[in-house]
């Protein structure tokens, strides 16, 4: 159907992990058993609430167990703190780092790089994907370049980007942009291309112009793909932040992480890693929320589609 069925590109919209592991995927046996005993309405309502939050509760429990085991392993000195600091040590490191004077500057620097780089990737990647998906000629012109750069390890270009843009934020912006641009553009392109032939015929029958066809069929159909592209783009952008700052920088969470690592302050290094991971999780969740909002019709269809 589409020329962009390259591996790793154009992930099916709808969020893979949520379908595989989301609410409902787990056997409800332990809840069901208790459900039989639940006689009062209030009790049943409570259990339904529990069932709704089952995914969250199970996830939380798993995290608690892992942290506890981790803490135990380090407290018993099974591994040296330099190899793997324990959760408590990391918490102390996080507190120390978060209260240091560098922290606000680092956070602002990394945040600014991320905002500009990812923002540019959206502002350029979305229209680029739309144009490539809609106009065959535009696709033919740009496809060789997109294919070439998509399969290039762009991280390896960091030294070059530093020569071009200096060690300030702009070299990092460039790394982030290059990371996020491709998933956004390619997913948008695939989305715009994957027109349902039945809908196409219907629109043509009603005398739709090319522009109307684009606005009423291609664009709404592409929205789930676009949001998937944005979600993938966030991940690439965060990798860009860290890698860009690793090589050469003056400030930034990734830069600090590198300093901590090379000076054997492992607890603080993990603390910085934690901050980046939290940022990633927050952004991913935000995009997932957006995805579900736009997918109201798909969700309500109960997987019929």
């Amino acid at each position: 159907m589409s020329p962009s069925d390259r591996p790793g590109v154009g992930e099916r919209p709808g969020g893979g992990w949520r379908q595989a592991y989301g609410p409902g995927a787990l056997p409800r046996s332990f809840l069901a058993k208790r459900g039989q005993a639940a006689s009062t309405v209030a009790e049943r309502a409570r259990l339904q609430g529990l069932a709704r939050h089952q995914g969250l509760l199970v996830g939380l429990a798993a995290v608690v167990v892992v942290i506890a085991v981790w803490q135990l392993v380090t407290s018993l000195h099974v591994v040296a703190p330099i190899v793997l600091p324990g959760p408590s040590a990391i918490a102390v490191g996080l507190y120390q780092y978060a209260t240091s004077p560098d922290f606000p500057i680092d956070l602002a620097t990394s945040g600014e790089e991320l905002a500009i780089g990812f923002g540019l990737a959206i502002v350029i990647g979305l229209p680029a994907g739309i144009l490539m998906g809609w106009y065959r000629l535009v696709f033919q012109v740009f496809d060789p370049f997109v294919s070439f750069f998509y399969s290039t390890p762009r991280i390896a270009l960091v030294p070059l980007l530093i020569i071009w843009f200096g060690i300030g934020i702009w070299s990092k912006v460039a790394v982030i942009y290059l990371g996020a641009f491709f998933p956004i553009a390619i997913n948008t392109l695939v989305g715009v291309r994957s027109l349902d032939p039945d809908l196409l015929r219907c629109a043509r029958s009603f005398g739709a112009t090319d522009l109307q066809l684009f606005r009423t069929i291609a664009l709404p159909g592409a929205v789930p793909f676009i949001l998937t592209g944005l979600r993938l783009g966030v991940g690439h952008a965060l990798i860009g932040v860290v890698v860009g700052e690793l090589v050469a920088a003056q400030h930034g969470v990734g830069y600090e992480m590198n300093i901590f690592g090379t000076t054997y302050q492992m607890a603080k290094m993990f603390a910085a890693l934690f901050i980046i991971a939290v940022a990633g999780a927050v952004l991913q969740t935000a995009f997932q929320r957006l995805e579900h909002r736009f997918d109201a019709w798909r969700v309500s269809a109960g997987g019929r589609r």
Binding site: D198, F206, G207, A208, T216, P220, W297
Partner: protein
């Protein structure tokens, strides 16, 4: 009251003479001839069914009438003007509901009107609600198509075609994917709606009973390349209840149509073997 519509009083809406439709298939050595020499006239307000063995070019012919594909020979005229492309005077009810899944039922019904862009938002909405009611889906305006049953989706498909107020309604096996009971009920509904809207209708089906029950005339196509083999008039009074299908006169007509089809189906299968 609207008994014999096929009478001579109406003017000709659709005139097809010696229509030939052929197209090139991928890597084929000669063009694929779907329809060759179809001549047919449909009178204003008439309901005409086309039946024929599968692959006989019925749907291709209907697509040509809608203007979705060009004809390669003969002439195809609507109200005296040659068909050059899709137009507001025709609307198609597709075999697949082909509803826009991200639009509510109401906004699917008004899709054609929105594309026309001639009326105000309020007028479009009002028209949409009227046709929603006509197909018996009051209260489903803001539901998404994915939440509807197959029969309900086809009602929306029908309402969408009616909403643009076309002069001619083209129906491409719209009930083919419905279960038997829903199908019968939808036939009854279609006749009710057709009586109210007084559109000219061209209905494609491979169900002979369905064709006869709905139509003023049944046109039987030959095996591919499709031609008109025979036109069978259906002089049964309207309005028709579903039990008319057990009427001896109905069964007589059914036998006649079935005999035509049988010969063609046999020919089609023999053709399939030799190919």
């Amino acid at each position: 009251m609207i008994g014999d519509r096929a009478g001579a009083q109406g003017r000709t809406r659709l005139r097809a003479s010696e229509v030939r439709i052929s197209y090139w298939q991928h890597r084929a050595e000669e063009p694929f001839v779907a329809v060759d020499g179809v001549s047919l006239e449909v009178i204003e307000g008439e309901f005409v069914s086309i039946v024929g063995p599968s692959g006989c070019g019925k749907t291709t012919f209907l697509n040509a009438v809608d203007g979705l594909i060009p004809i390669s020979g003969g002439s195809l005229e609507l109200d005296g003007r040659p068909v050059r492309g899709p137009g507001r005077d025709r609307a198609m009810v597709f075999q697949q509901p082909s509803l826009l899944p991200w639009r509510s039922v109401l906004r699917n019904i008004t899709y054609g009107l929105e594309l026309e862009g001639r009326r105000s938002r309020a007028e479009i909405k009002e028209a949409g609600l009227r046709y929603l009611s006509l197909v018996g889906l009051d209260g489903f305006a803001n539901v998404y198509p994915g939440q509807l049953s197959g029969g309900m989706q086809q009602r929306v498909n029908l309402a969408r075609a009616l909403a643009t107020d076309p002069e001619m309604l083209l129906l491409d096996e719209p009930f083919a994917s419905l279960d038997a009971q829903t199908r019968e009920f939808m036939q009854l509904e279609l006749l009710r709606i057709w009586r109210q809207s007084r559109k000219t209708a061209l209905f494609i089906t491979h169900d002979i009973k369905e064709a006869i029950y709905l139509a003023d005339r049944v046109v039987v196509f030959t095996a591919r390349p499709g031609r008109v083999k025979e036109v069978v008039p259906v002089p049964l009074p309207r309005p028709r209840e579903l039990r008319v299908k057990r009427d001896p006169r109905f069964i007589e007509i059914e036998d006649r149509v079935w005999n035509c089809i049988e010969q063609e189906a046999a020919a089609a299968m023999a053709g399939g073997r030799s190919a």
